[in-house]
Amino acid sequence: MRYSLFALLRQGLMAHRGWTPAWRDAAPKSAYQVIIVGGGGHALATAYYLAKVHGITDVAVLEKGAIGLGNVGRNTTIIRSNYLLPGNLPFYEFSMQLWEGLEQDLNYNAMVSQRGVLNLFHSDAQRDAFVRRGNAMRLHGVDAELLDAAAVRRMLPFLEFDNARFPIQGGLLQRRGGTARHDAVVWGYARAASERGVDIVQNCEVTGFLRAGERICGVQTTRGEIRAETVGVAVAGNSSRVAAMAGLRLPIESHVLQAFVSEAIKPLIPCVVTFGAGHFYISQSDKGGLVFGGDIDGYNSYAQRGNLPTIEDVCAGGMALMPGIGRLRLLRSWGGVMDMSMDGSPIIDRTPLPGLYLNAGWCYGGFKATPASGYCFAHLLARGESHELARAYRLERFASGDLIDEKGQGPQPNLH
């Protein structure tokens, strides 16, 4: 059923009894052309683009619980394409362009809000690094502006300007950046994929892979064996676990990232702001809560929760940047398990096992990549070769030295 104001009005007259499920809760068939392991944003987007772009609709998305409850439902909802390196920048900009048309494409309001992403800098060296990044963006036709301290002050007068330990010197602004409603992205892709014939199978946990010699030809699940010509894995947070079922070891560690939301208040913060002298970023949701976060906790973790040192650090960063939030209250904190890769960049590639493909290693930046990741992974699954924009995201890059290390932290995942 098509969503529109008219449909809403009409349903309003009949007590909304005519709405149908947003997506079919499918039972698994015994075989598919393509199986996607995982029911998160990337997996659902992959299924959607497989159907839409490549016409492949004999697709199952297998989710061990209910869809969209992993990192796509636990992030701070920021979208942006302010990347530095040529391996990343065109990919994330493509993602941004898909965000810009997402609602009309999916017929689902994901509340993509291009309110701007402002990265503050506090030293000359940091400014120069941001300028290098902003110039790379401009070279690729991506919007980027350099603001001085006065311009930042006009935009966000409530920041700490007069008593700061590390005074704000300025910021790099991407006006097209912003936020999206994370759950709506899940439901929108699920609905659109389901409408095109994709089976979304919930409560179906993959417990192993079926093999024909070296080749992967399906999966074992808690709901029986399911065969497939092509199996794609998109289970960020659990990539190492699932890959281990196929006997693979990945250049990935699982780390917990906490996220925070305050009680809802009337509009205060107009855009996404990141603090350059501490670990803190913040925006305000349409519902009014301040959504913020900081660094990962820093140790391998499969527990979707974190500990106090990071919470204190994040709140200290918040108070250092905007001391007016002191009396606002933290409402909830939670954790998501991140696929932290060894150079801070993702992997969209075939694996050494024929028939098995991998979408992983998104660190804590996977949400904004959802559309492009799905698009490029669908391309890989459909064609067996990397999409041009995801060519750099190869597994072998660690061996060859073609690293995509935006932060320069090297093989220390908890620093990316």
Binding site: S4, H16, G73, L89, V131, L139, I265, R329, L330, L331
Partner: protein
């Protein structure tokens, strides 16, 4: 004015009167009141408006689970939005305002939303506002944002301060109701170190709200005596106004003590709140239970209140929510409310019990008071515009009757308050016995007691508390006798009624977010059928109360709609914090200038006295330049400093550079494994440049390696990388090669170090230490080092130079810093010495082509930095193997070059990208970037360092430095990255 204040003794001080204002109107109250009890006493039942439909809302509870009565407390910079009236301890002069209502809470224009409620169902926004696309940011979203949110934040800086405290104890008792007090008494009497945290300002929990007797005395008196006993014990810390908000790994609990929230402003030198991090060997969770409501039409109307809350208001605050109060209950417990009201001379016209069978004792007692009882009855709806006027009741026979009341107390059953027992990921289990979730899979250190464990009787609470207290004390080595207390028998039977099927009007499953039973039905219809999807689609349970009073009803409704049992639907994990926590409290002292410590070099005061301008270098404050009187432009100051060093002599404080002392028989062999170039061959008394790589082959840091004695080296590191280098070295020492005899000590702060550089550097130094040390080229050549006595202390001189002039670095014990730098400056006065700062140092290092942080950025190899020739091919060292990977030696990989604008006047900027001349500005044509740039006073032009593809072939080529962010596009020439004295003769002078 106190129309609803009852006679008799409660926990308020009647002899004192406080005055407060709500929405600008003045009221009075007593010490011991909360804002909620004071408003009820004054007959105010309408407190604010709801989130979406702007429905009138009153007070539902008497505790921190309150979803409705949220107000803006205080004003100006101290304004606190969304503050629960039920938790605000009344103080004289208190001011509060209602929220989400305009122009007033009684007449709120937003209530028009109620009329549009057919449109504003759960998730309506996902289905519309998509056309035209550009309208989302411009029209729809701003409108939604304006109406969303509840209170208003003060954008001003929080004027109060917060403290952070660490505490350790044997037993942490959370909650001071009967179970908590029993546990604390038992364990404390045995001698264990105890911390008791009570959220309320009055300890005792339900003992204050209910009329119990323990050992023949009223429960509230018993609690007072127990607390007095605990407070008198030295090993007990008893904290009221303290909420344990989270359980964390390692038996660590976070708690917030509201030190001054019950005062108008904090006392001098007092924090507003104190953040406790409590490490407890054992924890007893005695957090009680939370009463649920029932989902029926108009269950949100002001005047509808949970039954236990009514008892609390009546017994503790001596306030009644109304003068004619009906009861709607699903269990025996609710009847207590009716009897307490009757005892307080409040009219109770009607008891509606959803059960068809009720104990004869209750019926008889009700009959004795002439109260009409409807068994098997249900409340279908409520009426009243801004306050409850009437309820509609359906009896077993299907008859609907209307009853005039001004308050309705609702007893929907109790849910154990187990949030803290699930923070560490333990999934609760459903209990068929109590029809609620109980904690499960608890760690050995945590024990749940009393109502929190489903023990709903007072006797059970005391018994389980005492047993847990004894067990906890025993487990930490104390023998504790088990006390016992005498209490009355209680009836605690209950049968859940989650929702009233034939409800008329909106029946709420989330008060704060205006989620109705219809919304749950819609979500189910649309396929959002897991508890998580329901929550996210309808926002059920996402308010500031996390759905404590009604979320389970929503899940029961979901279960019914999807043909499942409540147990199958599962539950939503409670997320910390248990109740919302001020962000300022979690940050505590780390704000403003105290966000991070300042690190000052030992001669910081001298630099200040010289008028230095400082810059942040990590946590360090370093002198950036030293303006002379009359110098207004920093560029001219820096130019003067550079020119003076190049022509005469300058002194620079380089104390922030890392200094690591390495000693041991295997020191040389250890360092060979660390550095990419050979360092074991450095003779004693000499210094060598050293380059260390990470395991992945990228350059980690560069610095100097001085050999002070046979098995004794001193390494220098860059200021920024010291921590990383120290971690790297200790890793190599302790993890990789523990068999080596080598000791590492970070001596950075023990030494102050000054660079003396310039053609007259030797002359200057000779004036101060000629008698201590021979400084001639023969005695102390370039890259030599020597000890000397200086001001009676052991000191060191290194003949090294970063700026490319004849240079020395004098290292002295940190306590001699000030006299040292003063002596140097005095000696140099006749030579025209200048102090110089980091900016001049930076200019001179670019002139010399030395790499620094902008080049050693974690993605560059030795080869990229033009240092490939240093890398030894004859030994093993960390990073050797991976530095050899194919892509890291590819010819098109950018490497270090010098860059010079063709126009000598043109400015070159760091961050510009390098493009071929004439190539369109596109990412594909990007060939590198400018990493550092400066105006060189020596050359009289801008110069820079950068990284460029195929750099070696391109010397002399003209390219573009493209900086669109700054509107610059500068033609530059590619040159060798050494602009000054390329032969390196001056350092040997």
């Amino acid at each position: 004015m106190s129309v609803n204040r009852l006679e008799g003794e409660g926990a308020i001080e009647r002899e004192r009167t406080l005055s407060f204002k709500f929405d600008g109107r003045r009221y009075s109250a007593h010490p011991g009141d909360t804002l909620a009890s004071a408003l009820l006493a004054a007959g105010v039942s309408l407190v604010g408006r709801s989130f979406k439909y702007h429905r009138p809302r009153g007070i539902l509870t008497a505790g921190s689970e309150e979803p409705n009565a949220l107000v803006e407390l205080r004003s100006g910079a101290r304004r606190e939005p969304n503050t629960r009236a039920t938790m605000i301890e009344l103080f004289d002069g208190l001011q509060a305002c209602s929220q989400n209502a305009w122009p007033s809470r009684a007449f709120d224009l937003g209530a028009v939303n109620s009329a549009l409620s057919r449109l504003f169902v759960a998730g309506f926004y996902y289905k519309t506002f998509m056309w035209p696309a550009a309208w989302w940011e411009k029209v729809y979203e701003p409108a939604i944002r304006r109406v969303a949110g509840l209170g208003r934040a003060s954008a001003e800086s929080d004027p109060d301060c917060y403290e952070k405290v660490h505490a350790f104890c044997d037993v942490l008792v959370i909650g001071s109701g009967p179970a908590g007090l029993a546990a604390a008494l038992t364990a404390a009497r045995a001698g264990a170190r105890i911390i008791v945290c009570e959220e309320d300002f009055l300890p005792g929990g339900r003992l204050n709200g209910d009329r119990h007797e323990i050992d023949g005395t009223p429960g509230s008196n018993w609690a007072r005596t127990a607390v007095a006993e605990l407070r008198a014990l030295p090993q007990v810390q008893f904290m009221t106004r303290t909420t344990v908000f989270g359980a964390y790994d390692g038996e660590t609990y976070g708690a917030i003590e509201r030190v001054s929230d019950h005062l108008a402003v904090p006392l001098a030198h007092q924090p507003r709140q104190r953040f406790w991090k409590i490490v407890a060997r054992r924890t007893v969770l005695a957090s009680g239970a939370l009463e649920r409501t029932v989902v029926f039409g108009g269950n949100d109307r002001p005047g509808v209140m949970l039954a236990a809350a009514v008892r609390t208001y009546v017994n503790r605050f001596r306030v009644t929510p109304g003068r004619r109060v009906a009861l709607f209950t699903t269990g025996d417990d609710g009847w207590k409310t009716a009897f307490d009201l009757l005892a307080a001379q409040v009219e109770v016209p009607l008891i509606i019990d959803a059960r068809t069978q009720v104990s004869a004792a209750l019926l008889q007692r009700a009959r004795g008071h002439d109260v009409q009882v409807i068994l098997g009855g249900q409340v279908l709806s409520t009426a009243g515009s801004r306050a409850l006027r009437r309820i509609e009741v359906l009896d077993r026979g299907g008859r609907v009757r209307r009853v005039r009341v001004d308050a309705l107390s609702v007893a929907g059953g109790w849910s154990p308050n187990i949030a803290l027992a699930t923070h560490l990921g333990m999934r609760p289990r459903w209990s068929e016995t109590i029809n609620a979730h109980l904690s499960a899979d608890l760690p050995a250190s945590l024990c749940v007691v009393g109502a929190a464990a489903g023990e709903f009787s007072l006797a059970g609470a005391l018994r389980s508390g005492a047993a847990a207290g004894r067990e906890a004390a025993c487990s930490v080595g104390f023998a504790a006798p088990l006390p016992s207390w005498r209490t009355d028998d209680e009836l605690i039977d209950s049968t859940p009624l989650w929702f009233v099927p034939g409800s008329r009007g909106k029946a709420f499953v989330d008060y704060q977010h205006d989620v109705t039973a219809e919304d749950v039905a819609l979500a189910v219809r649309e396929g959002y059928r897991s508890a998580e999807h329901l929550k996210r689609y309808t926002t059920l349970g996402m308010g500031t109360d996390q759905g404590k009073t009604v979320q389970l009803n929503g899940h029961a409704l979901l279960a019914a709609r999807t043909g499942r049992e409540v147990a199958e639907v599962g539950t939503i994990a409670a997320r910390p914090p248990y109740t919302p926590v001020a962000i300022g409290a979690l940050a505590a002292r780390e704000r403003g200038r105290n966000f991070r410590p300042y690190r000052f070099t030992p001669s910081h005061r001298w630099a200040e006295a010289r008028g230095a301008v400082f810059v942040d270098a990590g946590q360090w404050r370093r002198a950036q330049w030293f303006p002379l009187p009359g110098e207004t432009d920093w560029r001219s100051t820096v130019a003067r400093e550079v020119n003076t060093v190049r022509a005469a002599v300058g002194v620079c404080d380089v104390s922030t550079l890392g200094k690591i002392d390495v000693q041991g028989h295997d020191a040389a062999s250890f360092l060979e494994r660390i550095y990419a170039n050979s360092v074991s061959t450095v003779p004693v008394g000499r210094v060598r440049y050293g380059l260390m790589l990470r395991a992945d082959g990228m350059v980690l840091d560069d610095g100097t390696v001085a050999r002070l004695a046979e098995g004794h080296y001193l390494l220098s590191t860059s200021t920024a990388h010291l921590g990383q280098v120290m971690r790297h070295l200790t890793y190599a020492q302790q993890v990789l090669w523990p068999q080596l005899d080598v000791q590492l000590t970070n001596v950075t702060e023990q030494w102050a170090q000054y660079a003396i550089a310039g053609p007259l550097a030797r002359t200057l130094l000779e004036q101060v230490c000629a008698d201590a040390l021979a400084l001639s080229n023969a005695d102390l050549p370039h890259m030599a080092c020597a000890p000397l006595r200086w001001l009676g202390q052991r000191a060191r001189v290194f003949r090294i130079s970063f700026c490319g002039e004849l240079g020395y670095e004098l290292a002295v014990p940190a306590r001699c810093a000030e006299p040292t730098v003063r002596a140097l400056m005095q000696a140099g006065e006749s030579l025209g010495v200048t102090p110089y700062g980091t900016e001049a140092l930076g200019v001179m290092r670019i002139e010399k082509g030395h790499v620094a942080g902008a080049e050693i950025n974690g993605t560059t190899t030795a080869q990229d930095l033009g240092l490939g020739r240093l890398v030894s091919q004859r030994k093993e060292f960390i990073g050797r193997v991976l530095a050899g990977r194919a892509a890291l030696s590819a010819p098109d990989r950018p490497s270090l070059v010098g860059l010079k604008p063709l126009d000598p006047q043109a400015r070159l900027t760091a961050g510009a990208h390098l493009l071929g001349m004439g190539a369109p500005a596109r990412l594909q044509n990007d060939q590198g970037f400018v990493s550092s740039s400066a105006f060189s006073p020596t050359l009289g032009r801008w110069i820079g360092l950068g990284f460029l593809s195929r750099a070696r072939e391109r010397l002399g080529e003209r390219i573009r430095a493209y900086d669109p962010l700054r509107n610059l596009d500068v033609p530059v020439e590619v040159v060798q990255p050494v602009f000054y004295d390329p032969e390196g003769l001056r350092v040997k002078g």
